[in-house]
């Protein structure tokens, strides 16, 4: 286990509130009673550590999980996972999922009238390397309509789930693409009050990692709460 110092959340406005009425689903599902201050004990300061045996070859290439190539714009997505001191988080589990190029998820409740792609499942995962780096090859997801309000459309995004050093570092978020005109209209994106914090969820076009005549690349770094690299001493028994 790894111990991370339990510290308070980042600057005000950099995380969404639970109750955010523009995102209609939050209204009946968000707690309204006072939250209790989380204790600081071994329960909160430890967390799961995942082994390489969990990951299978090709889990980070979403374009090679079927017999044929998926339809759409092939892209690379890469970045680093860092702690609040900017130190790389190595061996961190990064899980992603997304819609296909037509804006359709391979999920039973997605009723959007857009085609499924038999060559695209839309899920990937990997453990970060020693420099905290992750990388995926995938298809650029399409925007899609949803029922939040009249003519509501989600900007293109990839869902990310991460484990850091300690359970309090846990983060589920979404990565967006630069220049997407749907972002200012999206209540989920706008649930983060601070503009700079919102912009940090937008990836950067990275021509250094783009492959000529093959695929563009997007870079996106993720900062997890807490500080890493403090080994947790096992009690002697």
């Amino acid at each position: 286990m790894i111990e991370s110092s339990a510290i308070q959340s980042g600057a005000p406005g950099t995380q969404p509130a639970y109750h955010y009425p523009p995102y209609v689903s939050s209204i009946a599902r968000s707690p309204r009673m006072p939250l209790i201050v989380l204790p600081d004990t071994v329960t909160e300061r430890t967390g799961p550590v995942f082994g390489h045996g969990l990951i299978r070859e090709g889990d980070n290439d979403l374009t090679a999980q079927h017999s044929g190539e998926p339809v759409g714009e092939r892209i690379f997505v890469h970045g680093r996972v860092l702690d609040e001191d900017g130190r790389p988080l190595r061996g961190t589990l990064v899980e992603i999922w997304q819609a296909n190029a037509a804006g359709r998820y391979r999920h039973k409740v997605d009723m959007h009238d857009a085609p499924l792609d038999p060559n695209f499942s839309g899920a990937g995962r990997m453990l970060t390397d020693d420099e905290g780096r992750y990388w995926f090859k995938t298809i650029k997801p399409g925007p899609y309509p949803w029922g939040n309000h009249y003519n509501a459309w989600r900007p293109a995004h990839i869902h990310f789930s991460l484990f850091g050093a300690g359970i309090l570092s846990r983060l589920v978020t979404q990565m967006y693409f630069p220049g997407d005109p749907l972002q200012p209209l999206d209540p989920i994106f706008n649930s983060i009050p601070d503009g700079a914090a919102r912009r940090r969820l937008v990836s950067r076009l990275d021509m250094n990692r783009a492959e000529p005549n093959y695929a563009l690349a997007y870079e996106w770094d993720i900062v997890l709460r807490g500080r890493a690299d403090t080994p947790f001493e096992e009690p002697h028994r």
């Binding site: 209790i36 204790p39 329960t43 082994g51 999922w97 914090a197």
Partner: protein, 180 residues
């Protein structure tokens, strides 16, 4: 202690389609037998209106240093489950050991629980206790919670190593969640 230089990335909802990317972990975590070292937790997740939440994911964390050496590809003490179409979940969690509070007093055995769902822009954190533990009466975390709300964190025994714990996201009987 160093000053924080970077701000943690903002959270966004897990949305309704997380099973695409997250359910593999349930399949790869293997089968854990319900024996003396595991406890079965069954329950239901309900919203403000008492409507079952059919698209929630729960993660259970049992911090138990004694058994940390038992980790392989899949970490001991961690468990992820998804609710079914009726909001029901069933999780086999590792039995927690008593652990000290920050002042050195012992806490009652408990499990940390994380909730993810469409509608939750940020995940929720709660603690699960067991109604057969007398130490609940002196647990410093439970004692810090208004008396009338403590019961929301205490799972009820339903037989050997089996407990029931319903989670209410909002309303007068709302489950206690922690700020973090």
């Amino acid at each position: 202690m160093t000053t924080a230089k970077l701000t943690p990335s903002g959270s966004q909802t897990v949305g309704p389609y997380f099973a695409i990317g997250l359910s593999y972990l349930i399949e790869r975590s293997g089968v854990v037998a319900a024996d003396a070292e595991t406890i079965e937790i069954r329950g239901r997740v309900l919203d403000r209106d008492g409507v079952p939440v059919p698209d929630a994911m729960l993660e259970f964390w049992t911090s138990n240093p004694r058994d940390a050496s038992g980790k392989g590809a899949f970490p001991y003490g961690f468990r992820r489950v998804c609710v079914d179409d009726n909001g029901n979940f069933c999780a086999l969690v590792n039995r927690p050991a008593p652990a000290p509070f920050s002042d050195g007093t012992m806490q009652s055995p408990h499990v940390l629980v994380l909730f993810f769902a469409r509608g939750l822009l940020r995940h929720l954190i709660s603690r699960l206790y067991f109604d057969d533990k007398p130490a609940n009466l002196s647990d410093p975390v439970l004692l810090g919670i208004p008396a009338e709300r403590r019961h929301t964190l205490i799972a009820k025994s339903e037989g050997a190593n089996s407990f029931r714990w319903d989670v209410i996201l909002q309303g007068p009987h709302e489950t206690v969640f922690f700020a973090w």
